[in-house]
Subunit: 111 residues, 2 copies
Amino acid sequence: MPKQGPITRPGVRGSRTGRPIMALLDLLGRRWTLRIIWELREGALTSRALRTACDEASPTILQTRLTELREAGFVELTEDGYGLTALGRELFATFTPLNRFAERWSKQGGS
Amino acid sequence: MPKQGPITRPGVRGSRTGRPIMALLDLLGRRWTLRIIWELREGALTSRALRTACDEASPTILQTRLTELREAGFVELTEDGYGLTALGRELFATFTPLNRFAERWSKQGGS
DNA sequence: TCCCGTTGCTACATTTAATGTAGCGATATG
DNA sequence: CATATCGCTACATTAAATGTAGCAACGGGA
């Protein structure tokens, strides 16, 4: 369904430069991707639990994103449901400064 | 145009919990947002230069994202064009580990 | 003044992505 | 065999993004 193939391959939007960060920003910039990684931070969730956690996002798009994230190696389907791989946990770890930044940001009135 | 109001306010998708990180993930998860911040990292760009840097993304959506980013306090319009604010540069700084991660990720073949 | 070129920005028709609802086949439990 | 859940998909509707064109405003030259 995505017109673009697997991540890190040619054709991924924004990655024509060959810079991996572009492919990553492209993947993370798709709707619900960041949220999914965030919601899986504390452990695996079933597809339906994940849907609940993600504010009842449509199963269609969640499935699409989960497939992309699995292809990218960030998420895996275990017997406990969907969970972050070791790589996915590394990725999540890079969000930590983002989280602290968000706290500061909200307190100084971004808008 | 965005049916949701300014960021950090009620109604922003994914931020009903009141956690700032949700509002931030929502904003950053919109198409081209991450890319724009990335492209402005080395200095201000005119709207058209930014468009070129962003792979000729449509001016409509760039304008929408720039407005959102200005409302969020990450981007400002100076006489040199669009540039990151001090806050925007702080946000970009949190991407640094992401960049290093992207390099590792691409070398181990995510897909 | 007139002509260019550039700026930021907008209109609008088309295409693509996401939503919402329903339900499939498979597996497990009673 | 009836229920209930799992991961996942179909499909019609709605929302978002694209692509192309062009606006008004400003700033030089000639």
